[in-house]
């Protein structure tokens, strides 16, 4: 890529995308709890209030249904709102607005209205924040036709995917793993966009494919290094957009390697891993050497004690073990 880039964090990448997009398009507004004066609980929206003023950056009351409700109405009437819901657990308070209003209005009205809305929200466990501040609810929103669900894993993807999400005419749920905000990597400068619904291949290997989402990329990369030392080379694919899914590269890699593991931090039951596994088995069954393997969060509310919480999140050692088992 010829675009000049710098090294920065995912937090900086998202902040840069927000600044650039709000500069580019005056119809974009930002609203959420503490997003203005305080710069966001994770400091992701720092500086936007001073750059764009209270006419476009709204510190809202603690009222998630109201935030998304206003954002839906604003999106129907000419604005492109970005609503921050501080923790993805709190999107449940806004779920009527997301599921019954934003997702359905374009369809129910036969396209008379669009809802160009982005709901940004911090997800994932590992912060020792217990069961109501740690969930990974991506599968809930993937289950609803009309929503687009995006989960970036690198600073470059965060910037490029957020810009595309803001420019998209559909409601987008943009999930940011809170443990990745300090993750560093190249951030392409300027108008860098990544199409929604396109997977990214991070690494290519001939023995197995590991499909991983969001922060699960990092234990997967670590596992790949460990496996490589033992002579096992894996392909790593990050779908980046969970709905709609870009199945083609995943099917292709499944056919080439015959061994597939899917890693997602949502619950294993009825989750993202189940859907991807089902699709691979429908389209690549004859090429598989064994059933598709899955690794997700343990099916329990996320416990507080660090020693317990760590037992619920997929890790590199588990990925290494499963890949070794598959190839044994």
């Amino acid at each position: 890529m010829s675009t000049p880039e710098r090294i920065g964090t995912i937090r900086e990448a998202i902040n840069e995308a927000l600044h650039e997009e709000m500069q580019r398009d005056p119809s974009i507004i930002l609203m959420g709890e503490d997003v203005g004066l305080a710069g966001g609980v994770f400091k992701v929206t720092n500086g936007l209030l001073s750059a764009f003023g209270p006419e476009r950056v709204f510190d809202t009351p603690i009222a998630e249904a109201g935030i998304v409700g206003l954002a839906v109405g604003a999106a129907m009437t000419g604005l492109r709102p970005i609503a921050e819901i501080m923790f993805s657990d709190f999107t449940t308070l806004a779920s009527d607005q997301i599921v019954n209003q934003a997702a359905k209005l374009p369809y129910m009205t036969a396209g008379q209205t669009k809802v160009p809305l982005v709901v940004r929200t911090a997800m994932g466990a590992g912060r020792r924040a217990a069961a109501q501040h740690s969930q990974s609810l991506q599968a809930w929103y993937c289950h609803i036709p009309g929503l687009i669900v995006v989960m970036p894993s690198t600073p470059a993807d965060a910037k490029g995917l957020l810009k595309s999400s803001i420019r998209d005419d559909n409601p987008v749920i943009f999930m940011e793993d809170k443990m990745m905000y300090n993750q560093k990597g190249p951030i392409p400068a300027g108008d860098y966009t990544i199409p929604l619904g396109k997977a990214r291949i991070h690494r290519e290997g001939r023995h197995a494919v590991v499909i991983c989402t969001s922060s699960m990329l990092y234990p997967t990369l670590e596992a790949a290094d460990t496996l490589s030392k033992g002579g096992i080379e894996i392909t790593i694919i990050d779908p980046r957009t969970l709905s709609p899914l870009d199945m083609e590269p995943m099917i292709q890699a499944a056919k080439e390697t015959g061994h597939v593991l899917i890693v997602d931090e949502g619950y294993r039951s009825f989750g993202v891993t189940a859907e991807i596994a089902a699709r691979i088995q429908e389209d690549a069954f004859d090429y598989l050497d064994e059933p598709v393997r899955r690794l997700g969060a343990a099916d329990v509310p996320v416990p507080f004690a660090p020693s317990l919480e760590d037992l619920t999140i997929p890790n590199a050692a588990q990925i290494v073990e499963i890949v070794n088992e598959m190839l044994a």
Binding site: I67, A75, T109, A110, G146
Partner: protein
């Protein structure tokens, strides 16, 4: 508890209405009545699928409010939305076609009675979720404010919606940010099969006033009283002063929905229904027009005949209209 809107007396706005507009208001009320009674008939004969929540008896509210609005102003409506849509200019033909699930309906048959939208008329939708329009109306007001556009949002909602959390979340922001929103609470005495008395502590206006939203309560079967209160509220919001709240006391003759006729569910008596039918807002307004020499019996009868013809044509159009092409099922999921 309930205070006057301001120093203007109740008749001051209404006294300025031209005869032409008064007759248009009468025509709109008759249109809603005949539309709804035709839905009753068509539904009863099994021609219309789904659910139907009729506005019969409440016509003065929708008309008294909407006659104050510009085409560019927005409204949100409820599951009992036909009256609001007709009052804001909705076409009976396309509405009836939608009710019958036809391709030439407003939503290509994909929304039905509870989801009709006409963005070109500022109708941001009926809504199947109680209080569902409250976020949308306040959001539309937010966009009017951000874009410095002269657009007021009016949200119609029932007494039942007053107990939904979204009312407080959005009214708080609307008041805090002085958004151009007008709250029209249609207190039709019941939320589903439970009376307001049994479901609601205190009153709507008192709850609005707790959020610094000036509120008033009017006779919702008196179209001029509704007009007057709505006129004050809409002008106040349009001038950038923030939201206002108007409670309109009224009654839905035809129950919560088509399956709730007479005293089927035992929550109201036939006698109560008949008492309210005596307060019918349409002849009441007709009498007023005659007493003020604004019109004569022949002119009112002519309106009746013309409207009946319009509704008959709408039903015929809807019956003849084609069903949606099967390909429609997968269209418009995404923009």
């Amino acid at each position: 508890m309930i205070k006057e809107l301001d120093n203007q007396n109740v008749s001051s706005n209404a006294s300025k209405i031209s005869t032409e507009v008064l007759l248009d208001m009468y025509r709109r009320m008759v249109t809603i009545r005949k539309f709804e009674e035709t839905v009753y008939d068509v539904y009863s004969r099994g021609i219309m699928p789904g659910l139907a929540h009729l506005y019969t008896g409440m016509e003065a509210v929708a008309v008294g409010v909407c006659v104050n609005l510009k085409p560019t102003d927005n409204i949100t409506s409820t599951h009992r939305g036909h009256g609001h849509l007709l009052a804001k200019g909705g076409e009976p033909k396309r509405m009836f076609a939608e009710l019958l699930g036809k391709a030439s309906g407003y939503n290509h048959g994909k929304g039905g009675s509870m989801h009709i939208v006409d963005m070109s008329l500022g109708i941001l939708g009926a809504n199947g979720i109680v209080a569902g329009g409250m976020g949308i109306a306040a959001g539309a007001a937010l966009s009017a404010k951000v874009n410095h556009e002269d657009r007021v949002s009016v949200m119609f909602f029932g007494d039942g919606a007053l107990n939904e959390g979204l009312f407080y979340e959005t009214a708080n922001m609307a008041s805090l940010w002085k958004l151009p929103v007008v709250y029209i609470m249609e207190n039709n005495t019941y939320g589903e099969y439970t009376s307001t008395n049994r479901s609601t502590a205190g009153t709507g206006p008192a709850r609005a006033e707790a959020m610094m939203i000036p509120a008033v309560s009017v006779d919702g079967n008196d179209v001029l009283a509704v007009y007057d209160a709505a006129c004050n509220a809409i002008e106040y919001a349009r001038a950038g002063n923030g939201p206002r709240f108007v409670e309109c006391h009224t009654y839905r003759w035809r129950g919560h929905h088509m399956g709730d006729q007479g005293d089927t569910y035992g929550y109201r008596t036939q006698q109560e229904i008949e008492e309210w039918m005596k307060k019918d807002p349409i002849p009441r307004f007709g009498q007023y027009l005659l007493s003020q020499n604004k019109t004569d019996e022949a002119a009112l009868s002519a309106i009746d005949v013309q409207v009946q013809q319009l509704i008959d044509e709408a039903v015929e159009f809807a019956k003849q209209a084609p069903y949606p092409d099967p390909s429609e099922v997968y269209k418009h999921v995404y923009a």
